[in-house]
Symmetry: C2
Subunit: 210 residues, 2 copies
């Protein structure tokens, strides 16, 4: 009984530390963040923080991994639903709008800036973001495109190339703007929809079959 | 006479400081760089550095502006040459390869990472990079696309939208990889050529007219 309660306590502390660390890193950057602040705002001692995460670096990797996984899962789940879809243009449009909406948040933009700024110091961290973010999304999409191709609805040779083309037709312009121009450059819902629709049109002109 | 020589000396000092600052910033990042190191490696006194650039921040803006302008000019000049070109596919392919080759260097990748990492502290710096980099390139390309459209060789409604689509079809995938995975992820010449060719094919499927 008591071990169950201990597990619950440990899990809840773990989550509390991660949540606090996320806010501290996003606000102060990697170098500016310190373990005292993280301990303080998670309401645990610094020893407890170190009992859960060996170093500031380990904690940063966890924070980046968790936000990336959450975002990817939201995009990924929407990709999985596609099999049942028959109208490819409509499927791609709703996929694109979902991806844009999930990724283009001030929180994820700031995380991405932090990680890119630290590539020199922590190359493995950016790799975590790449593999669990865009790469995971593109692989899922490639699988969807292969199934559409088998049904004769798309004409996709290399499905990874096609998935990358679609991904970046949709994401690159608004992502690049937001990266460099800040959160005010994140387009509103109407703009995102128009942008997504043009991306779908271009993609289907090249890979469509109807 | 002596004033001419003074001007020459001042210009050459200015350039020496900028060159040294570029290396120091690329190596140590913005926070890590200090004016003493920059003075030392440009062979001038710290007072002289401050006589040319009021602050480390001003110097950083100059460094970023200069590298960005140089790269954009190289891409831009190749866009300008297009008017005489009749084979659009060939023109676009050589434009794309040139842009990929000019931009995807370890130096520009590192600069971009630095600038993105500093968006929170210096929003205006990233704006310099955006406006003098991708935006300038896309505007030049939009002009080219309008002329091609008038000749009936392309079917481009909004030329800025088309220029952005082409730009990111070409740049986004390798740029994003290099940003996150480091310089080893910069594709070799053959890969860049294949990637550029697929970008051109997709673009012309959507906007071409032949």
């Amino acid at each position: 009984m008591s071990s169950k309660r201990d597990t619950y306590r440990a899990t809840s502390k773990h989550t509390a530390i991660l949540n606090a660390a996320t806010e501290v890193f996003l606000k102060s950057g990697y170098l500016g963040a310190n373990m005292d602040d993280i301990a303080k705002s998670s309401g645990v001692s610094k020893q407890t923080v170190y009992a859960h995460f060996q170093s500031k670096k380990d904690l940063f990797v966890e924070v980046v991994g968790r936000i990336t996984d959450d975002a990817s899962s939201m995009v990924h789940d929407s990709a999985q639903a596609s099999d049942r879809d028959d109208d490819i243009a409509e499927y791609l449009l709703s996929y694109a709008i979902r991806q844009l909406t999930v990724v283009l948040t001030p929180r994820i933009m700031q995380l991405r800036r932090l990680v890119i700024g630290e590539v020199g110091r922590f190359p493995e961290l950016a790799k975590v973001l790449y593999e669990r973010g865009p790469q995971r999304t593109m692989k899922a999409l490639a699988g969807v495109f292969e199934r559409f191709s088998k049904k004769g609805r798309l004409n996709v040779g290399n499905s990874i190339v096609a998935a990358s083309a679609f991904n970046w037709l949709v994401m690159a312009d608004p992502l690049n703007r937001a990266m460099l121009l800040g959160d005010n450059a994140i387009p509103d819902a109407d703009e995102l929809r128009r942008h997504a629709a043009e991306g779908v049109r271009i993609f289907l002109a090249a890979y469509g079959r109807s």
